[in-house]
Amino acid sequence: MRTLTKLSKAPLSKAPDATPETAPASNQEATADVSAESTTARHELDGRIKGDGPLARDTLPYTPTHPHSQAHESAVKHVTGRAAYIDDLSAPANTLHVALGLSPVAHGRLTRLDLDKVRTMPGVVDVIAVGDVPGHTDIGPVFPGDPIFVEEEISYVGQVIFAVAAENHRAAREAVQAAVVEIDEQPACLDPVAAAEREEFVRPSHVQQSGDWEQALKDASFVVEDEQFVGGQEHFYLEGQACLVQPTEDEGVVVFTSNQHPSETQKLVAEVLGIPFHAVTVEVRRMGGGFGGKETQASPWACIAALFARRTGRATRVRLPRGDDMRATGKRHPFHNRYRLGVDEQGVIQGGEITVIGDCGYSPDLSDAIVDRAMFHSDNAYSLGDARVTGHRARTHTASNTAFRGFGGPQGMMVIEAAMDDIARRIGEDPLTVRKRNFYRTDHQTTRRDITHYGQQVDQIGLLHDLVEQLETSSDYWERRRAITEFNAESPIIKRGLALTPVKFGISFTAKHLNQAGALLHVYTDGSVMINHGGTEMGQGLHTKICQVAARELGLDTEEVRITATRTDKVPNTSPTAASSGADLNGQAARDACMKLKQRLFDFAHEHLYQDQGLDREDMRLEAGHLVAGYGESERRIPWGELIQAAYLNRTSLSEKGFYATPLIHYDRNVGQGRPFYYFAYGAAVAEVSVDTLSGEYQVDRVDILHDVGDSLNPAIDIGQVEGGFIQGMGWLTSEELKWNDAGRLISDGPATYKIPTYGDLPPVFNVKLLEGHPNSMASIYRSKAVGEPPFMLGMAVWSALRDALASLADYAEAPRLDTPATPERVLMAAEALRAQYGSQHDAWHDTRPLEKGGE
């Protein structure tokens, strides 16, 4: 086993001073963890990370009181109500308010649209439909297929047919009801499996294959085979979709929007208006939650508001009422998955086939990449052996499903986690034993079990094993397993379940070109620093982390660094803040800008300051608010403010831009092979549940999590992401149920009917820790790892624990099928089915115990 863990055990007191000595040693040890290919690459990249000890070990425990655990940059503004969201921004008194006319049917042709009465409603200023759009009418983000307004074909309930601008929000909403809309209704397709059978796809299917999967099935000791339905998920960002658009003095607009992808909104608004991109500026200060729901689906509202703003010359607001938001925008893709896997007598998968069908809704949106990511993650942390993975993108008459934390990855992982439980029941071993046997490993005798089905060598496999072993011990897994088995044998109604599930999540946009970022750094003559970058703040603490990067590079306190709203006129052509990439990409870009400016300041100091003494350029550094040169007696310290003043007076530029592009990644879609991910982030969770098998009610009694963030940029923020991700993932698999009626209308269209976890769903025992002693093996920003999405999938432990509890009704001979979300209804139905098959234990209760004292 590798010696990486030793790094974390360096004595506390040595932490800051030990850096120069330990850094080279650590470097070597960490190198041992990576493949030859990436080691070479690492050397090429070392230039980027020299100078501050990339592997300098941070030996303080990752707790909320760690020095890097700074509070969110807006925390005080959040708690005092001063943090402004879109609908809080002040605007001119004559600002217009928009309401949308949404389709009441799922599929049909628009035969008549009469808006005359709408125009005469009180307060109405303007009404528009597709004929009023001067530029592009298709606002599909990657592929065409998303009309800004219905032209003729209607594709889902909630599709936008027209829009009204009025003097106030209520007047606009009331006016919408006066429209005359006639539709020739046609049968709607709501079943993605049926759509896939008819080959009704929004994008072509894709296959990844390694080895002879058919032979593997033939040679296997036995085959596990099943299908599953994995439900979708509403984002339920607390701040609904919103934007404010102001017309400019020329042909353009300024767009304030709650949005994860300002550059794309800039492009689409410009195209809809038929003007150059430079006439549109998009600004995002913060979002009240995004989770993927504001990556592509924030743009339509900005486009509509921009149309009104240009037509009327008045500022225009859109904010979608919650019900409209839930009906009009896409969600996490529901998936239908099938698996057929050949297994040896030890329960180790030898190969087989997996098919995932993503329910994409009516248009492509991001579904190509989402179903790809489901395929990339159908292995989770396990080698599939010789396998073929097929992904279909089914078209149905619902809103176009879109990005949501995990981006298809969670739906793909559910396949293999289901299979793990199935295999365990089949061979009569504990599911954890089976999972560990199937983990990627480097020590296999005959076959390589360290390469994915798409050809990427899995990095840091040792970390995965170490992490799971640590968690197994800290959660007391085996002792609790014993206690639960005993409890269940004696308890006819209440059944307990336990499960440990791992996460291995690939980090990088699978669309290679998106893996780039820019930053803009200004130092003003008072020494204060402004950093700007292409990422957006949605609560994940990205701005806080970027401030910390800039402060760390410049040797300043974070108070001296101010981050400003993301704007397309400061850093252009940005990628969405998505794929967990925010800090990885923008952190490196910010650091690049800081390092360039730092070099310029060092050059300036070397040339112009202490000329008589000749400051040593080599040893210059910025620390604790000073430029420091030399050591010991020859050390010179120049305060930051003085340095900046002097540099300014000597006509040195105090502004710099930074740029970063992730190296090494590639994927050939023609052959389904490559290295799509720069690295993997890992984690694992143990969940214990109690299930009432008579009512289907259940409770989560305890959760233990150990999660890998490399060297944490901010432990408090990272723990926040891990905990929040877990709870959101648990909600996805338990209480959050999307339901449509037979006509295709979403009937879970508000928080009264769509139930995200609330305070009471927080497990009473919730032990969450960040893995220590495992810096990222790749050269990421300070050896940290992305943390936005990976913890979401830790929620699978709850689902697997529910299955475990239910399996006790079959004396663990079978893992019952449990589609998701596993609502009390689904849990009850699964329990009833098992009882019908295996006999009812509580019936037995009748016979063994006299019912009434003294008998009947």
Partner: protein
Amino acid sequence: MIDFLLNGQPRHCEANPETSVLELLRETLGNTGTKEGCASGDCGACTVAIGETAPDGELHYHSANACITPAHQLHGRHLVTVDGLADGNDLHPAQAAMVECHGSQCGFCTPGIVMSLFTLHEQQRKEQDKTLVPLTPQHLEAALGGNLCRCTGYRPIRDAALSMNEHPEHRPLWMDAAAPVPRTGPTAGESLFAQPTTLAELVECLERHPEARLVAGATDLWLESTQRLVRFERLIDVTRVAELNVIEETTLEDGRSGWWIGAAVTYSQIEPLLEEHFDAFAHLLHRLGSSQIRNRGTLGGNVANASPIGDTPPVLLALGSRLRLVGPKGERELPLSEFFLDYKRTALQQGEAIRAVFLPHPVEGETLKVWKLSKRREDDISAVLGAFAWRLEDGILRDVRLAFGGMAGIPKRAAQAEAALEGKTPSSAAFQTARLALSQDFQPMSDVRGSAHYRQISAANLLERLRLVLMIESQAQDATDSPREVMLHAYAH
């Protein structure tokens, strides 16, 4: 005309009858700290604190959802919002603890969370005057169950709640100022938002405007405005009618004694009474809506609304409750079982209102069980709710009343299942008959909360649970080492 104190500052506003406190704040007064998350009272982002002087002369703050609270009900009250909580640059303990515990991420739910923590802190302060009351998990669930947070997973918010008291007390002086004395507006009968203060005035309003809608907590009515854009022509607010705000102990003509609960008494106000006398009912109340809803919603409203999935009607049916109605022709009484006629249709005549709901004293030997099935334990609406009352007399079931919500168009007793158990010993056979009889009693429907099949099976299984509970209680003295749990801790009472 609404006179109130907004964070200590006197305000005098005009508003339409359907204006909500949230609209008044954000659109009229430009106070944007309070957020709109759902406009239906389900997410808590708009939580504010409303202060009013209690009969004991003390000013009490309670949390409320501003999105579904009528602006006119602020008249003569304090309104505290997140914008006013800090004392200059000094954060209130609720705010300071949230910052220190990393309790905000996107920050959009945070103003509502802070206000819920503020009211919890106020409650603690009051209790601390006497003795230091440590917060229990139940306190926290009650205080925070109505605030959705999509980012944090709630752990840091729990930590903030538990550490508030460690922060220095910064509390603006105006928080203890007397509630403003409302200026007199038009008489109750003339106003579009009439606020009668006596039963006589209420009856007069009802006579003059029989078409007017009645409003109490507005926790359901206001959704018609925010979701369906209904404009209320005229509203009669019953919350200030003195006679509707009292709980009177009494004995009925049939000899039963109990309490008349005034129709405008809120859930929060009856909570202590239920906790003392009806453990099962109190437990249900803790799962009804959220604090913000329970502080506003009323028993009278829940009954008058006549929803088939209202939480309290099945319990009241199982308890044999009665109603006292008031109208232009005087008062009348009827059993609750005769009140619900059909889906959302009641025995209320035009111009009539519920005056009080009768809650009988617990009867010696009678047991009540209330079991609610929903997707989420807190702040959810039932898929199925079963309320069961019975007496066991020499091993024989007597006065069996099995009432269900979610199984029919109205809250309804299961007559045939009751008949299967009445006068029988609680045997497997009797319960088997009762379970089968349920499918004659009810043909439930499928909807967003559950399928008809699930409703049928789970309702029958609640009877099985009842049998097991009876069996275990009968064996209570037996020494046994095997687990005898038939319910989860989180749901048991």
